[in-house]
């Protein structure tokens, strides 16, 4: 059975409400201890107060700013290094074990080091986000360049494209299409970098709010922070979907039919 978009949205909302209701019921009846599991109504009140008093905005702004910076820096770095290594077999042969090693390393443990290097401000979170975003973009660009159709490439050469023009008109568009296909993951990772960075040491941001609330065993505020982060992660994801649709109009969608 298939559902229309409207009905599907209704089902989604109903499921969310049911989960919320079950949570409320279980904590209200003390089957789950409210001290550890929070109380949904209080969580809602905290979120409401954050937005009404405007207390959340500076924190949210910092977190989103860190996300955007980490995303842009990580993507640009990944794109440049990916193109370079993919087009230079020697450099890629030399760099390969290091890239693999760095990618295998759990990068979250770098957060304290970045805090020491770059301080407790925005920069250390951006650095953490960059290490997460970089590898996703890098591997996609690398793959994208390797998979450029040899026929398209030969055709461009026959049409008189110089090496620079091949880079600009063939490799780059091909690689960016792969970057965009990883956009959802990399924006998500930039967000993770920002929040985890804040959580491990900061003076501002939603991660910082959660850390503070945890310090005073205020479980409702912790949940409120999680709710706000989730909603904004969804918004970011939606934004990415819109951007992707605009930039990748040339890409065939599966089972697309169109009257000519």
């Amino acid at each position: 059975m298939r559902l229309s978009r409207g009905r599907l949205a209704v089902v989604h909302v109903v499921i969310a409400c049911l989960v919320f209701f079950a949570w409320w019921l279980l904590t209200e009846t003390k089957i789950l201890a409210p001290f550890f599991f929070g109380e949904p109504l209080k969580v809602v009140r905290v979120v409401y107060e954050w937005f009404v008093t405007g207390k959340i905005w500076p924190h949210l702004a910092i977190t989103l700013w860190e996300t955007v910076l980490a995303f842009i820096a990580g993507s640009v770095l990944g794109l440049v290094v990916g193109l370079w290594l993919a087009l230079s077999p020697l450099s890629s042969a030399i760099a390969e074990p290091y890239i693999t090693a760095m990618n295998a390393m759990p990068r979250v443990i770098l957060a304290p080091i970045f805090a020491v290097w770059f301080g407790l401000g925005v920069l250390s979170k951006v650095a953490l986000g960059v290490t997460l975003v970089f590898f996703i973009v890098f591997f996609n660009v690398f793959q994208g360049v390797k998979e450029v159709s040899p026929v398209v490439l030969a055709n461009a050469r026959m049409l008189g494209a110089s090496r620079r023009q091949l880079l600009r008109h063939i490799y780059l568009p091909s690689a960016t299409s792969w970057v965009f296909s990883s956009l959802h993951t990399s924006v998500g990772m930039a967000f993770v970098g920002a929040v985890v960075g804040e959580y491990l040491g900061s003076a501002k941001g939603v991660g910082y709010l959660i850390l503070q609330a945890e310090g005073t065993f205020d479980i409702n505020t912790v949940f409120a922070g999680i709710v706000v982060l989730t909603v904004f992660a969804l918004l970011l994801d939606y934004l990415v979907t819109r951007i992707e649709a605009r930039l990748l109009v040339w890409r065939p969608k599966t089972a697309e039919t169109e009257a000519l």
Binding site: L159, Q165, P173, V249, R251
Partner: protein, 279 residues
Amino acid sequence: MTAAAAAAVAGHAPAAALAFDAVSCTFAARAGGDRYTAVSATSLAVAPGEFVSVVGPTGCGKSTLLNLAAGLLATSSGEVRVEGAVLDGINRRAGYMFQADALMPWRSALSNVMAGLEFGGMPRAEAEPKAREWLARVGLSGFEGRYPHQLSGGMRKRVALAQMLILDPQILLMDEPFSALDIQTRQLMENELLELWSANRKSVLFITHDLEEAISLSDRVVVLSAGPGTHPIGEFMIDLPRPRDVAEIRMTKRFVELHEAIWQVLRGEVLKGYAQSKR
């Protein structure tokens, strides 16, 4: 024409637009395989304005021959001459139409046709009207903004044709360009190609495995042996009158005679090629 005239003044016979001079092409061994000689000791010339088709069994190295002429592949021995000069690097006098889709999928039809002019440094404002004109000439007015995946196979071939012809190359290299099309579209495209060609005669080297296509289009048909080490084993002048309609000409008596004669030569090679592919 100018190159031919210059050669005549210098006291030589007019240089062929494209000439293979004892060309061989051997591919280095891949892991677990032997060296493979795709083309061996091939000599072949295409005169200015001549339409030459090359037929041969599948997998015999026809495309290798074309890639050598385009300068996409280097010869192992012998040389390729373009208007008398030895070819080194990409053949700038030639346009290449590939068997597979070669359009840039991220560019619209118009932008694909413009690509060559753009690479050559022509300003957009100047290149765009030319590209529109060429799209119109291949019957695709109104499809300027479409991306390749939004076009049918036949339309993509037309865009590729316009993309190649807009640069006004003196030599056209065509690698089974219409083999992926259905028979009706294919005959339409063949007629259109003949029409465009007769308006402004270029030298054409046309690769195909379809003998009927080869005869109906060409001035001359060259038969290649089965691989490895393919080389020409027969040459036939096609003295059918022009202008031709590729569908109608197949019914004429002369066409059938020529088909018969060429098939006699080609048949043995096709069987050899088939036996090899089964092994």
